[in-house]
Amino acid sequence: MNTTAIFFVALPYTALATLIIGTLYRYMTLGFKLTSLSSQFLEGKVLFWGSQPFHWGILVVFLGHLAAFAIPGTLLAWNGEPWRLIVLEITMFAFGVAALFGLAVFIYRRITNSRIRSVTTKMDALVYILLLVQILTGLGMALLYNWGSSWFASSVTPYLRSIFVFNPQVETVAGMPFLVQLHIVTAFVIFGVLPFTRLIHFVVFPLNYIWRSYQVVVWNRNPKRIRAERSYFPGKTSVNN
């Protein structure tokens, strides 16, 4: 096996497998450890300057990647005009810088604040290193190859799609510059370790809050059924309302 096969075929499949199995395992058995591990209670003032730019930055950049993956044709068409390409690249770059700034604040806060240090784990360090590499390589590409978004849509998307249909075509990415390859590889590593780090927190984003009612009442048994029922084993099922 050559290095291309290791990094662009073996790694992605290992990462995706650990992502899916690991997340399910953690969700089903380690519920108590599934949390955002918020540290705002111990320190909130500096965190604001980290959490807001980081999360909004990463959200927009992530959606950008998703768009290039899901609708590459539309993206290429948009980039057809140079000024539109430049607008897109600058916007993404700005959000990327926001994320980088936020991450820098996160790291600074972890190192300088003794309260935050006491709730920092080794896995946090790993997460920061991976994210740092990921964001830096992303920003580096945007600076050096500022047609990167078109590249993504025309070359990386076919590769990624080939992975998902279990017919890996690595030619398009094999010839890419080192920076781009590093960005792709780190991305897979991040997905692979995701279930075992605090990054798991965005998988449990509670969207259903929007449509649930404010109040939650949980019954361990259905008292009405028990009182009305004549059968020998009534009211076994619990109901929520």
């Binding site: 380690l30 519920g31 108590f32 450890k33 599934l34 949390t35 955002s36 591990l37 918020s38 540290s39 705002q40 209670f41 111990l42 320190e43 909130g44 965190l47 604001f48 959490s51 807001q52 999360h55 003794s114 309260r115 240090r117 006491s118 709730v119 784990t121 896995m123 075992f196 780090t197 605090r198 927190h201 449990v204 509670p206 969207l207 259903n208 809050y209 929007i210 649930r212 404010y214 109040q215 939650v216 009442v217 949980v218 019954w219 361990n220 048994r221 259905n222 008292p223 009405k224 059924r225 028990i226 009182r227 009305a228 009211g235 076994k236 619990s238 309302n241």
Partner: protein, 497 residues
């Protein structure tokens, strides 16, 4: 009608001696773990004072509870669910550890390991968060018994409604007085904590109305901490999960009173069932300010009313629970005698913990700078109470002084009546006037006296059977080992990756 039963509580403030036994009992059972050291699910604060966390009553800062929104209500913090999700990565109104206090211990080993010398060795305080030496600046009950009044008592949020003269009068040395306010979660009918949790980790138990926080469902979004206006949900900084008072439900299910009730030295605590109409919760919570208190008291139903009994049976309430509701000391204090008032009804969560307001010493007055205990009558009237009515009204009746006065008048009438019964040294007409003005007869006065002063455990705590035989889930292992979290699953409370 959709009748449900609610475990409710009464704390008789005249009886609280401020010993903190309740707090310690709770701490030993539930919160002596890492990350929970700073939590006091039960705490006792001195009033006037700023309480725990400092100035928790100031909702302009802490943004807890509900506020009026046209004809409806909305949470004061995240005014909509969309806002809650928008603020999820940074909660703009989260209290910080410093609003409570930094928990600490002492380096006791320094006492033993100190080399022999002329000086007494000392054990230095070290932070339980960072392990570093700390300078103690605040702690729970830093202002116990009015300690540090200029910084604490004077900052009491409830003084806002008093004029500067009234405030000065309150702090005149000769008039100075205080009482204790023990607080636990109110297990509200319209809890903001439940409403605020995006992951639905908090819920109200249908059977007994206890509000709990499911540990393996909590995702550390820490919205409930802001949302509870009484600041009775806490964030465990070590496990990254929130926690709250569970009203010792494993004890309740076994027919025992919660630990803080059971240990209460002053026997100030009462616990019993109230039946209420769940269909009316929203309507009551949306009441106009002036009707809020009356409407809340109105939601609780008369368990002797045949119609209520019929509806309760139709709603599935067990006969034993209805019987418990009829014997409930809470029903007596709150509905029959009108002595129990909720703390800060204006937060609109419909709390189920009621307080009998303190009568406080009314003897004595200051004339020309001399403290004079020779009053005409044995006890001065409640007009001479050292605690301004406005202050109590700000705590318990949303500013309505008449309701506080009516309650205190009854308490005083009971005292006068009992003095007459036991010592008999008061003019008979004084007794009659007191009882008539208070609107109670001698029998009621005797009953109030009995439940207040003589009642044994079984009268003070009327706990309906949990009917575990009908509930499969309730039969899960509840008696976990100490140091574990949650029920129905056993896990060490260690921090996630």
């Amino acid at each position: 009608m959709n009748i449900r039963s609610q475990i409710s509580m009464v704390f008789h403030l005249d009886k609280c001696i401020g010993c903190h036994t309740c707090s310690v009992a709770c701490k030993n059972i539930w919160t002596d773990r890492k990350g929970a050291e700073y939590m006091w699910w039960n705490n006792v604060e001195t009033k006037p004072g700023t309480g725990y966390p400092t100035k928790w009553e100031d909702q302009n800062v802490f943004k807890g509870g509900w506020e009026k929104n046209g004809s409806g209500i909305k949470p004061r913090g995240n005014s909509s669910k969309f806002n809650a999700l928008k603020n999820i990565t940074f909660n703009p109104h989260l209290p910080s550890l410093d609003d409570y206090y930094e928990p600490w211990t002492y380096k006791y080993s320094d006492l033993f390991d100190a080399p022999e010398g002329d000086d007494q060795p000392t054990a230095r305080p070290v932070s339980l968060v960072t392990g570093e030496n700390i300078d103690l600046k605040a702690g729970p009950n830093w202002d116990d018994d009015l300690g540090g009044s200029p910084d604490y008592a004077r900052q009491d949020v409830n003084l806002q409604n008093l004029s500067p003269q009234e405030q000065e009068a309150m702090f005149e040395l000769e008039r100075m007085t205080w009482f204790y306010l023990p607080r636990i979660c109110n297990h509200c009918l319209n809890p903001t904590c439940v409403a605020s949790c995006p992951s639905a980790a908090l819920y109200k138990r249908g059977e007994d109305g206890v509000v709990v926080l499911k540990q393996d469902r909590c995702r550390g979004w820490r919205m409930c901490v802001t949302a509870c206006p009484y600041k009775k949900t806490y964030y465990n900084w070590s496990t990254g999960k929130s926690e709250k008072c569970v009203l010792c439900y494993p004890r309740l299910e076994a027919g025992m009173a919660p630990a803080c009730f059971h240990t209460c030295v002053g026997r100030i605590r009462y616990l019993g069932v109230m039946l209420y109409d769940a269909d009316r919760i929203h309507e009551v919570a949306c009441s106009e300010d002036k009707d809020l208190l009356d409407n809340q008291l109105d939601i609780y139903l008369d368990p002797f009313d045949p119609n209520v009994i019929k509806e309760a049976t139709a709603s599935g309430i067990a006969d034993s629970t209805i019987t418990a509701a009829q014997q409930s000391p809470v029903y007596k204090f709150v509905k029959q005698w009108g002595l129990g008032l909720p703390l800060h009804p204006e937060f609109r969560t419909i709390p189920n913990l009621f307080y009998v307001p303190p009568l406080l010493p009314t003897m004595g007055s200051v004339t020309e700078g001399i403290y004079d205990t020779t009053t005409k009558s044995f006890w001065g009237g409640i007009e001479n109470s050292r605690q301004p009515m406005k202050y109590l009204a700000s705590l318990f009746t949303n500013g309505d002084t008449q309701k506080v006065e009516a309650t205190l008048r009854k308490l005083l009438a009971v005292k006068i009546h009992r003095r007459m019964e036991t010592v008999g040294d008061l003019p008979q007409e004084e007794v009659t006037t007191a009882l008539t003005e208070a609107g109670i007869d001698q029998r009621t006065a005797d009953e109030i006296f009995r439940l207040t002063a003589l009642a044994i455990n079984e009268e003070r705590f009327v706990i309906p059977p949990a009917h575990r035989e009908e509930a499969t889930e309730l039969m899960e292992a509840t008696g976990d080992r100490k140091g574990n979290v949650g029920f129905g699953f056993i896990e060490r409370p260690t921090r996630g990756l």
